[in-house]
Symmetry: C2
Subunit: 194 residues, 2 copies
C-alpha cells in the first residue's frame, strides 16, 4: 500500500495518493460516459428523424410520393436498438460513477463489473456501426455487380442524416474502447501499486 | 511478474496457489487464442474461395457467364482484411502465451498489453461481422423499398459460403470478448489476492 501524505487522515495512512489518482480516473470515466450518452442519444435521434418523402416518377405522367425511412432495413433497426441500449447503459453507469465520485473513489468490484459490460457494449455498438455503415455505403455508391442502385442521389437529406448518425456511433464505439482501456489501466495500476 | 512455486525457491512461500491458478488461466487463454486463429482463418478461406459463376440471361437468346465474388463489395473486403489481421494477431499472441506457459506464468505487464489489443481487435472484428452481415442480409432477402433484388436465389453456393464465414467471424468476436473478460478477471483476481 502507498504511504501517507495528508495529516487529516493519519489512520488511513495508505490511501491518500491512491485516492487522488483514482479520483482523476473517475472524472475521466464520468466524462467519457457523458460523451457516450451524448453521441448515442444524438445518433438515435438523427436516425429516427431521417424520414424523407420524395415525388418519384413510377410511370410516364404518374408521380407518387415515396418515403425513405430507417426502418426499411433491418440493419438500421438493429443500429437504433443497439445505440438506444448504449444510451441507457451510459445513463446508469454514469450515475453510478458520479455516486462513486461523491463517495470519494470506486471499488475494484465496481470497476470489474463496469469493464465487463463496457467490453460487451463495445462489441454490440461496433457491430451496429459496421452493419449500418455497410448498408449505407450501398445506398451511397450502389453496387453495379448486383445491380443495386444508389439512392442518395434522390434522398439527399436522408443520406446526410444517416452519415451523421453513423459517424456519431463510430465516436460512441471509440468512447467505449477508451472506457475499456481506462478501466484496464486503472486495474493494472492498482496491481503495480500494491 | 508471477512468483515461483518450485521447491528451489522456499522464500516466496505465498506464491504457490496464485501460480497454479495463473497457469490454469493461461491454458484457457491459449485455448481461446487457438479457437480465434481457427475461426478467423477458416472464415477468411471460406470467404475468399466463395467465387461462383452462373450463366445469366441478359437478353432473349443471350446468356453470359457472370461471377459473384467477395471483392465486389467493400464491406466484404474490409471483412477479409479484419479477419486476416485477427488471424495474424492470434498467431503472435498465441505463441507469446505458450512461451509464458512454458516459463511458468505471465507477467501483469504482458496481460495488460494483451487485453488492450484484444479490446481493439474486438471492436474491429465486431464491426466487420456487422458490415458483412448487413450486406449479406440484403443479398439474402433483398430490399423492396430501395428495389435491391436478392441474389441468393441465383448464387446459392456463394451465399452459403458467406453465411458460414459470417457465422465463424461471429464466433471470433465472441472469442475475443471472452479473452477480454478472462484477462480482466485475472487482473482483478490479482488485486483481490494481494
Amino acid at each position: 500500500m502507498a504511504p501517507i501524505d495528508t495529516p487529516e487522515a493519519p489512520l488511513k495512512s495508505s490511501s491518500a495518493p491512491e485516492n487522488s489518482s483514482s479520483m482523476g480516473q473517475l472524472v475521466v470515466d464520468v466524462a467519457l460516459r457523458v460523451l457516450l450518452f451524448a453521441t448515442a442519444l444524438v445518433a438515435v435521434i438523427i436516425m429516427v428523424t431521417s424520414k424523407q418523402t420524395k415525388m418519384i416518377p413510377v410511370a410516364p405522367g404518374l408521380v407518387v410520393p415515396l418515403d425513405a425511412k430507417f426502418d426499411h432495413s433491418p440493419a438500421f433497426i438493429y443500429f437504433v436498438a443497439a445505440l438506444s441500449v448504449a444510451c441507457l447503459y451510459s445513463i446508469i453507469t454514469g450515475v453510478l460513477s458520479v455516486f462513486a465520485l461523491m463517495r470519494g473513489g470506486s471499488s475494484t468490484k465496481m470497476q470489474f463489473h463496469f469493464v465487463m459490460f463496457d467490453a460487451l457494449l463495445l462489441g454490440i455498438v461496433a457491430a451496429a456501426t459496421g452493419a449500418a455503415g455497410g448498408v449505407a455505403y450501398i445506398g451511397l455508391k450502389g453496387n453495379s455487380h448486383t445491380r443495386w442502385n444508389k439512392i442518395c442521389n434522390t434522398y439527399g437529406s436522408f443520406c446526410f442524416h444517416f452519415a451523421s448518425s453513423i459517424l456519431l456511433s463510430l465516436v460512441s464505439s471509440i468512447t467505449l474502447l477508451l472506457l475499456v482501456w481506462l478501466s484496464i489501466y486503472v486495474l493494472s495500476k492498482k496491481i503495480a501499486r500494491r
